[in-house]
């Protein structure tokens, strides 16, 4: 009898520990978001979004160049990475048994686990070293490479979820295979693929390490992807490790903008999959 009570107590105690673990795990998010708002929101103003950084010692200035830079770099990365990832994903789903699909799938897993800084070094040797100057486009290539495996795997998984009967129906109606793939199968899987792509954009938008070796950062406003370019994550990093109080305030505000962009993208993406498609209803 005593032993049974003890066992029940142990069980309850362990559950209690797990609740503590949940609280400890959830706290950092609340803490980080709270700090970002408290320390960052005060510095947000219209000028912050429309001006470029001012030299050290002066107050004011903004991150317009970094916001535009991030949009351009990430936009170009998506233009490269999403089509390539989706196409490779369709291949792996349409010819699942083929040797190429097996190899590509395996390599994509390796790619997914590759540290972003290593991809940065690759983009540096491939583009920056050959061109002999840093450029936003080299940054886009590095980010695209980080996006490809994510987009590819979600595309493949979602296409596999499309029931075969849809495909068969289209083929029986005389659709060619490519029209079946694009017009029926891909279209059915599209919401999920959009979600996956948005998530990969969100992840990549906050990447800093590869940009340090490629886009480098810049104090000036620039729309030229072939030149060094500012980006929000770089701004956060450079101002955070700088010596001035004013710079730190700047870093917090830039981080708040960055996190708003990233979290909005990932929440949007998740809301899109919330309404899971149900085929058999």
């Amino acid at each position: 009898m005593n032993r049974r009570v003890l066992r029940r107590w142990v069980s309850n105690f362990m559950v209690g520990l797990m609740v503590v673990a949940v609280i400890i795990a959830v706290l950092p998010l609340l803490f980080i978001l709270l700090n970002l708002v408290i320390k960052g929101a005060g510095s947000l103003s219209l000028g912050f979004f429309t001006r470029v950084p001012v030299p050290a010692g002066e107050t004011g200035g903004g991150v317009a160049n970094a916001i535009v830079g991030t949009l351009l770099i990430v936009g170009a990365a998506s233009l490269i990475g999403v089509p390539l990832g989706v196409a490779a994903g369709i291949y792996c789903a349409e010819y699942p048994g083929s040797r190429l699909a097996t190899v590509t799938r395996f390599v994509a897993d390796v790619m997914n686990g590759t540290p972003s800084i290593v991809v940065g070094v690759f983009a540096w040797t491939l583009i920056v070293a050959r061109q002999k100057h840093f450029s936003g486009l080299a940054g886009s290539c590095a980010l695209a490479m980080l996006m490809i495996p994510m987009v590819m795997r979600t595309t493949e998984e979602l296409i596999k979820l499309v029931p075969n009967s849809l495909r068969e129906a289209a083929l029986a109606l005389g659709y060619a295979r490519w029209r079946t793939s694009l017009g029926i199968v891909l279209r059915t899987a599209l919401p999920g693929i959009v979600t996956g792509s948005l998530l990969s954009v969100a992840r990549v938008a906050g990447e800093t390490a590869p940009l340090l070796l490629t886009a480098l950062g810049s104090q000036y406003f620039s729309l030229n992807l072939n030149q060094p370019m500012a980006a929000l994550p770089l701004t956060v990093f450079q101002y955070a490790i700088g010596p001035y109080e004013e710079w730190h305030r700047f870093a917090w505000a830039a981080a708040l903008v960055l996190i708003l962009v990233v979290l909005t993208l990932s929440v949007l993406a998740r809301l899109a999959t919330r309404r899971r498609f149900t085929f058999n209803d």
Binding site: M18, G113, F134, G174, R179, V262
Partner: protein, 325 residues
Amino acid sequence: MATTSLPESAQAAPVTLHGSRAGDRLFKIVLTLAAIAIPLLMGFLVSELYTGAHLAISRYGVRFVAGSTWDPVAEEFGAFPLVIGTLLSSFIALLIAVPLSLGVAIYITEFSPKFIRQPIAFVIELLAAIPSVVYGLWGIFVLIPILRKAVFPFLRSVLGFLPLFQGPIYGPSMLSASIILAIMVMPFIMSVAREVLLAVPGSQREAALALGATRWEAVMSAILPYARSGIIGAIILGLGRALGETMAVTMLIGNRNEISASLFAPGYTMAAVIANEFSEAATDMHFSALAYVAFLLFLVTVLVNAAARLLIWRVSRGPTGGKGR
């Protein structure tokens, strides 16, 4: 019989109403090119890293990993403190993150009321979405002051008999970096562990409960053993993340190329040295040494990830039997 055979044209090319055969061929070619591009790109990455590192590889060979001077001015490079820093910070991060993330994963798959499962999982996934550089910023200005004022002195007074917790307290240190790493890898371990636990059939749990086990005993005796290799896979996947993590670590570890017995002392990691020095490297040898570090880091993460995949794949393949007994 002759009248029932199809017209010749139909045999040669089936009539397609929408789209054509040529379209099919083109479609396949495009897809194949995309699928080939990925292994090609990766092969290119390996060869570029190797060529970039060639100078350092031919000069140092394997000794590179054993040397402990890193002096760009004298062009003398050795990666031992970097390798140790990378391994140590990741290891401590896992020590902190694994119990927490397994606790959360077990709680929300086995114990929690249904209505808080989604919110907790959602919060944890948001935690995974926060960029590394924001963790770094938060670490410098919020976490480090707390650690320096409260946590580290406490650790030193309680565990000070261990060499690990002796010596002067700096803000940026091996332990600060490990703690931020732990927060960062926790969501990854948690979400994979959750998937693995969800894959355990309910009959396992029910059988244990029917035999009179408490709910905790059911977890320990029936569910965890079943999910064991998948959970190890999740942990190794977290290890892979931790090894390659750059920004937050660079901002918190103090970037000093030394090996110290104390966790309060600054250190350095492979990823951090690349981030700090690459864009300012002046000599070919310096670039090459950094590329060598990147190459090593790549090899280590590939091995770690391959091991993790293998373990997770073994679980998702299905039951491997209850190990007798």
